[in-house]
């Protein structure tokens, strides 16, 4: 539980920029960044239970809004500043903070959850996007793909204590359950980075597969835009990492004990990343190159099925024994029966929508899907497939997050 004394302890009031009494909106922005400490100290508790809210990342209204998970009422939002354009948000393991990176502001933001106030703004590297908390909540790793770095934020001091460089478009970070290591998917390369979390140093680069010799004949494909590794997805027991590589069309299985590739599995074309089913039985990749979905049996590390899906897939959520695959531009969710790995229909969310990503509640019953172009969240009942629209949640909702959900991801 949260105590007010903790907020006093972490509050920092800085008045330096108040001397800059010129300009318009940016000044207001900076003032707002520095003032919330008082609000946090004296503010009313708006969110007593962090497990009962859905975070919504509104890219174009530049805020993080909070929705009641049961009533779908909007509780409030935290404005981050003009042209911040947050990309992904995550709640700390204790539910005390929400952190997000402002892709256009090159800053990380720490929000006090109970009072919905902005506690701290921290300069990071270029274009921060995806992020992760260490399991103990002590560190928040903010990936800066355009800066080829990860900013390590110490949540005690709420400062960037180190910037891990040497990465190549780090898109996602995955901590091991014991918190000793973190694996980084480098979308601009074909290797997974292993970070020693005690020292915050890049320990090792694990090549997931060899680029075929024949690639020399195809400079357009291999020297153009690279589609490397988006995410290092970890098995439920923390023993294996499943790293999909887009250009190579494979999923490499890495043993986290000795950090070596033990298996390479061919899947469909241009896999985006692997999503782990909640029972841990399957790793599911969405392959935008051939619009298929591959199901990898994690007990044998073999392809179990490869089924047709839709265009521009962004993510997979699991609920009620089904997998729901988001096809961004078709406005459909493609549904698959996870018991027998067969298609189970598709759910039309609307016309001309741009679907983004979704989060599943901890009961594995409901999906909260962000739909950016109509500024809505769609709540999908996994069992009945009934759809409820919650409109006007903010401008251009880009993603959602629920504390302790097993489907918290971004794109």
């Amino acid at each position: 539980m949260h105590t007010r004394s903790k907020y006093f302890g972490s509050a920092t009031v800085v008045a330096v920029l108040s001397l800059c009494a010129v300009g318009g909106a940016p000044q207001a922005q900076q003032m707002q960044m520095r003032m919330p400490a008082a609000n946090a100290a004296s503010g009313e508790i708006k969110i007593p239970d962090p497990t009962k809210v859905v975070l919504i990342v509104n890219r174009d209204s530049n805020d993080i809004s909070f929705m009641d998970i049961d009533t779908y009422e909007m509780i409030g939002s935290v404005f981050l500043g003009n042209n911040v354009n947050p990309h992904m948000a995550m709640m700390s393991p204790d539910g005390r903070y929400v952190v997000t990176g402002g892709t256009s502001s090159n800053k990380a933001y720490i929000i006090d959850v109970p009072t919905l106030t902005l506690l701290k703004v921290i300069n990071v590297d270029f274009a921060p996007e995806h992020l992760a908390f260490s399991p103990d909540g002590r560190y928040y790793y903010q990936g800066n793909p355009s800066g080829d770095s990860i900013s390590v934020i110490d949540m005690v001091t709420q400062t960037e204590i180190r910037r891990i460089t040497g990465l190549v478009e780090p898109l996602n970070i995955t901590f091991t359950p014991d918190g000793t290591k973190a694996y980084v998917g480098n979308y601009g390369a074909h290797w997974v980075g292993v970070i020693d979390v005690t020292r915050h140093e890049l320990l090792k680069k694990i090549q997931v597969g060899e680029v075929p010799e024949i690639s020399r004949l195809d400079p357009d494909r291999y020297l153009g835009e690279i589609h490397g590794i988006s995410n290092a997805s970890i098995s439920n027991d923390g023993r294996y990492i499943y790293a999909a590589d887009g250009d190579l069309g494979i999923v490499a299985v890495i043993d986290t004990r000795d950090d070596r590739v033990i298996e390479t599995i061919r899947v469909g074309a241009d896999p985006w990343r692997a999503f782990m089913s909640h029972d841990g039985r399957y790793a599911v990749t969405i392959n935008n190159g051939d619009e298929t979905v591959s199901f990898i049996d994690t007990t044998t590390n073999e392809l179990a099925a490869q089924l047709a899906a839709g265009p521009d897939m962004t993510g997979v959520n699991f609920a009620a024994g089904k997998a729901f695959v988001i096809s961004a531009t078709s406005s459909f969710l493609y549904v698959y029966d996870m018991d027998n790995l067969t298609p189970a229909g598709r759910i039309k969310i609307g016309d001309q929508l741009q679907l983004e990503t979704a989060t599943t509640d901890t009961a594995d019953q409901k999906l909260f899907l962000a739909s950016s172009t109509d500024h809505s969240i769609y709540v999908i009942d996994g069992a009945t497939e009934a759809v409820t629209q919650v409109a006007n949640v903010g401008l251009y909702p880009w993603g959602t997050h629920i504390m302790d959900s097993r489907d918290n991801y971004c794109h």
């Binding site: 809004s65 909007m74 042209n83 354009n85 061919r266 759809v387 409109a391 949640v393 251009y396």
Partner: protein
């Protein structure tokens, strides 16, 4: 069930989201630097640590300024048009909420958002927009080279001869309304396929079916396709090729990327010899089951739509038997009057993954003929990925096809191929075919037909 909950606009965060101008940013940065310097002077006695802190902040601000100048587009806020619902009264007054005497109306309105975009994002968006509003053109060009080596039967003119056929398809695709697409395929062929000299029951080169006249462009397909009923029902009408809808097979259905011989591309019992006016309806709720119905005229000399008309129906189901992997099982039925009387045919097409890299296929078909006995066709084979290949995207296949006509003419064809995926757009496939013709009242004749296909698609 679909319900809508609307959060009242007065409950949204309505704080101003004022766009900074370039001048505004410059003022802010200059002001910030001035303020920091002033603060530094004021706080000088506090020591070197504070000076370092100030210097650090100045460095940060300079870095921000560099970034703004080099990557950001600050001139205009992002705008887009949104479909909205409003309430309008009898006087034409529009309201955001329902009022007494108003009706719900759908309209479109521009909205502004304040999202800083990079130059490359702007360019990408412009290119995507241009592409979505233009006709897409695709090219599929192939050159096939085949050689005939007779190994049994009476001497024939084909023995020792080499054949080459060049084919080029030009595809045009355009979106013309929501869920509605126009497609046209113009094809030109030139060359000498082996089928002119080896008179088999089926074509040894699947491209030969497209050859109408040498060196002439022909309209192979031209149709409109639209999707209805939440995109579960797909209707296609125009000049169509019903083999693109019926008798599918995952690994034996494409002369441009799989087997080259015609009986390993489509079931000959379908009976379709050329494309023509027609319609195809596909009901596919994407749950593994689909049903299809279509008709097509298959004669260019027909004088009305009732002449030489084929009706086809098919149901298919996807299974995952014993957890082996996905398998598609299809049954089709055909009725046509191309011979002057109604004839029927029925067929099955199956493909089943049996391991991560191996897919088996099988086809069977039977059709009424002018003889007491029906024509029959069987084929089977496999396609292998990830096994014994030079490159990761290569694959190879083997197949056998047996055709037995009601006249007792028979053909046995075996083909294997290896496909090199040279680049994303270029493939080279090596084929080896053996065909045995067993005509009634004549001696059995057989040939080895090695071949090479070079295919470019872009």
């Amino acid at each position: 069930m679909f319900t809508v909950r609307v959060v009242p606009s007065d409950r949204q965060d309505t704080r101003p989201n004022t766009p900074p101008t370039s001048r505004g940013w410059a003022l802010v940065v200059v002001g910030a630097v001035a303020g920091i310097v002033a603060h530094a002077s004021y706080a000088q006695p506090a020591g070197q640590a504070q000076q370092q802190d100030v210097q650090s902040r100045i460095d940060d601000l300079e870095a921000r300024m560099d970034e703004l100048e080099s990557t950001a587009v600050l001139s205009e806020p992002e705008t887009r048009v949104r479909r909205i619902e409003v309430w309008v009264d009898e006087n034409g007054t529009q309201y955001d909420q329902e009022m007494p005497g108003t009706e719900l109306v759908v309209t479109y309105q521009r909205e502004r958002v304040y999202r800083r975009q990079l130059v490359n994002e702007k360019i990408e968006a412009a290119i995507d927009d241009a592409a979505s509003n233009s006709v897409e053109v695709g090219v599929d060009a192939a050159i096939t080279l085949q050689h005939a080596l007779q190994d049994s039967g009476p001497e024939s003119i084909a023995d020792g001869n080499t054949y080459q056929l060049a084919s080029a398809d030009l595809f045009f695709t355009a979106g013309i309304a929501q869920y509605t697409v126009f497609f046209a395929d113009i094809v030109g062929l030139s060359g000498t396929p082996p089928d002119a000299e080896i008179q088999g029951l089926n074509l040894l080169n699947g491209y030969t079916a497209r050859l109408v006249n040498q060196n002439e462009l022909t309209l192979r397909e031209a149709w409109l396709m639209t999707e209805l009923l939440d995109q579960k029902l797909l209707l296609t009408a125009g000049r169509v090729d019903l083999t693109a809808f019926f008798d599918h097979n995952a690994v034996a259905n494409d002369e441009s990327s799989q087997f080259l011989s015609d009986p390993l591309v489509n079931n000959p019992m379908l009976g379709l010899s050329e494309n023509g006016a027609g319609l195809a309806a596909v009901f596919d709720p994407r749950n593994g089951f689909s049903a299809k119905f279509g008709y097509q005229q298959s004669s260019s000399s027909a004088t009305n739509l009732s002449d030489s008309l084929f009706y086809l129906a098919e149901v298919s189901q996807l299974f995952n038997p014993f957890g082996l992997g996905e398998g598609n099982y299809r049954v089709w039925y055909r009725k046509d009057n191309s011979s002057g009387v109604d004839r029927t045919g029925i067929g099955v097409s199956i493909d089943q993954r049996v391991s991560p890299g191996v897919v088996l296929f099988a086809r069977y078909g039977t059709a009424e003929a002018d003889t007491p006995d029906d024509d029959r066709f069987y084929s089977a084979g496999l396609e292998l990925h990830n096994a014994l290949t030079f490159n990761p995207d290569d694959y190879w296949g083997m197949g056998v096809a047996r055709t037995e006509l009601g006249t007792d003419d028979q053909e046995l064809l075996l083909e294997s191929y290896y496909k090199f995926q040279m680049t994303e757009k270029l493939t080279m496939t090596v084929h080896l075919t053996h065909v045995t013709e067993e005509p009634v009242g004549a001696e059995e004749t057989s040939y080895f037909v090695p071949g090479l296909r070079v295919q470019a698609s872009f």
